[in-house]
Assembly symmetry: C2
Homo-oligomer: 424 residues x 2
């Protein structure tokens, strides 16, 4: 297998050797091989040459049907023509200029029309930029300092979002965080009862999508009670919709689950890959956001705003969130069936447009790694222990081909991992 992999990924391997010399770790961050994506290195590509629609081609010319969508930003399909044309038109005029373009106002108007809670929008680059702004604005608004977070939630890489003990993180970075368990209303009530005079903000993803764990939707009534507790105790309720935004509901994931936060942070889905993020919120928070000192060199750049406006309009035209939910349901139902054909109980959790896969009978996690690995070698790109992403350009043919590959991959899993078939 080593020989096959070496041949299939010869250029990827050679480039990685070059990369290791001039980039710490070769490929840093969430795209780093193995450490982040947990696919056995043998079956894995490291560099992409081009991408179009639901597919991409690595530097060795291998073609893949993609279920990671660059970890979320690809929502309409790679290199969507409407989006790229809107970006190119703006690019002819200018991008990063001494003042914003008219498009900044247009895009804010469009988000205010689109997202239920949005009375205004603020633009930045990273999801982390706007989750951090949400916390700062909540502090400015309430005069309090602490933030309640759900254990295992991901809100970025700024020190305050990280875990104690990670390299570079100090005790002070985390001093204002309070952690409770997802769906644990009693735990939340206890924390609020004791510390309501210190708590400025509660930040959470609309449903719980940690890595290495089955994802968890909100329990019935959970969000409504969280909202009530926040309102009753002068706590700003901030939804981190960086990952789930527009993949559940164009009016906001909070609208999907039937509650009303004060702030919502967006990033991945709004620009179809062009670098932009946004914080939107209710009028009550407008003045606090104005007061916080917050800016960046590229935050008013016009090209990503033109791309984002085109993306949001196209998502409306396609009824994109419902389309991705339907495509995800078709895919995950097929995957579950194919797994069952081989005696494997595949667990799918989270929203179908952002599904997470596990084989719970094998707690070593190796069955899922073999599955992802066998799929990658056959041109279907899953990762092992992170939620996946559906985009609007996925076709019935893509899904049919994916299920053929999955069938072969589950066959390998069943034959090589006895635990995988002990679930029934």
């Amino acid at each position: 297998m080593q020989a096959i992999a070496t041949e299939r990924y010869a250029r990827t391997r050679a480039l990685f050797e070059r990369g290791l010399k001039v980039i710490p770790g070769g490929i840093p961050g969430h795209l780093g091989p193995v450490q982040s994506q947990f696919i056995p290195v043998d079956s894995y590509l490291f560099y992409v040459e081009r991408a179009k629609g639901s597919r991409f081609w690595d530097v060795d010319g291998n073609e893949f049907i993609d279920y990671m969508c660059a970890f979320g930003p690809n929502v309409l399909g790679y290199n969507n023509e409407l989006v790229d044309q809107a970006a190119a038109r703006q690019s002819q005029l200018g991008n990063c200029m001494p003042m914003p373009g008219e498009i900044q106002v247009e895009l804010a108007e469009l988000l205010v029309e689109t997202i239920e809670i949005a009375d205004w929008a603020f633009f930045a680059k990273n999801g982390n930029d706007v989750t951090s702004l949400a916390v700062m604005a909540a502090r400015a608004h309430t005069g309090k300092t602490k933030t309640v977070l759900f254990k295992g939630g991901y809100h970025g890489v700024a020190p305050w979002t990280q875990k104690h003990g990670r390299p570079g993180i100090t005790r002070e970075d985390l001093a204002n965080n309070i952690y409770v368990k997802w769906n644990d209303l009693e735990g939340l009530e206890n924390v609020i009862r004791r510390q309501k005079d210190e708590i400025a903000c509660l930040m959470a993803t609309p449903y719980h999508h940690p890595i290495f764990e089955d994802n968890a939707l909100p329990a019935p009534g959970f969000w409504q009670e969280v909202e009530r507790l926040c309102r009753a105790n002068d706590i700003v309720l901030a939804v981190d919709d960086v990952r789930a935004g527009f993949r559940l509901d164009l009016a906001g994931s909070a609208h999907y689950f039937g509650f009303t936060p004060d702030l919502a942070a967006y990033c991945k889905a709004i620009g179809n890959g062009y670098a932009i993020s946004a914080l939107v919120g209710r009028d009550e928070l407008r003045s606090a956001v104005t007061d916080v000192f917050y800016t960046g060199s590229y935050w008013s750049s016009a090209v990503p705003m033109a791309a984002a406006a085109a993306t949001v309009r196209e998502l409306h035209r396609l009824d994109g969130a419902n389309l991705m939910l339907r495509l995800g349901s078709a895919l995950t139902e097929g995957l579950r069936e194919r797994a069952g054909d081989h005696g494997i109980r595949l667990r799918i959790s989270g929203a179908p447009s952002m599904f997470y896969m596990s084989i719970p009978s094998d707690d070593s996690l190796r069955s899922m790694q073999t599955f992802s690995s066998e799929c990658a070698r056959r041109g279907v790109f899953f990762t092992s222990h992170h939620n996946h992403f559906i985009n609007c350009s996925l076709t019935d043919d893509d899904i049919a081909r994916t299920l053929e590959v999955a069938d072969e991959a589950f066959d390998v899993v069943a034959k090589t991992h006895p635990k995988a078939t002990q679930g029934e």
Copy 2:
């Protein structure tokens, strides 16, 4: 004057009214009118339609010669064709993809060749992303927590970079910062003597360029002694070259001043407006940077990397840093002369490619505001109390026209601000 301004900026004013409804403060951040740029609102545009080379046109069709360069990113001239072509070529293939492109390796190799201290490069989006990474890496490397900063230095908008008392900032955000005065070696020595076992990092811009103050170059021997103190006390020396990078020296501003930091943060000048930032550093820090958990949705995007590679190559071809220093010298010498013709002593500080202007005889600052204002009304874009930026596309004709306008503006200043002419 109100009537003239209203006519000249009718569309800017109408758009701002729309913007105020859907964006906190209308225009947020460093591009916000008045609060950040300190030009009387009357004479000021708020929205730009297009930009090319050294000029831009606002939404009312007014043309400006630009000395802000979008606060730095415009280094070769707006919409530089070589850069835009490189970006468009990459865009045809893909931008934000499931894995990086070959361009990530190429760009890192190019920065390693270009910047004297760079053994490796790490890419992100904001300047703030990489100044924060520098601090985290220094902590991971040394096992210590505190950072020494120079008072008035700007390193971004993350809470740790802000001032105590600003809305949204907590005591804990600043608990690990120690502030000393620029060029005050004795103060620095005292701090290091007392706290060397806690100090992980010293971060500074290569020279001091605060706002509202004359900028200050390093005193002779200052950097060499800072470097010696850091080496002797296991303190990581990090240069924040976000603003000055490539405007003093393509080999790094540290090379220009003759010292060797461990880390250098870049942003504005490396992509000519395409959103990218970079931390570069010495081999000693490579493993610490690899260990820090740090990533973002768009940080491996290929288009800004292609743009950055084209920008850096063109800066080499043009000997860009020296070109901008020469252009800045020609401009600032002319400005000083024209001011003198009207009996005004204009003080120019900082590097000529990033000059700061003041009229020290008027401590109300109003003379400079009138000067910027009169220039803006005549199509030359200066701000009042921030350093300016030169780009490589500035022509002799631009400078000649600027000096004509400045002559008229200084005439107005001399006639309306008696204090402006009391300097000699």
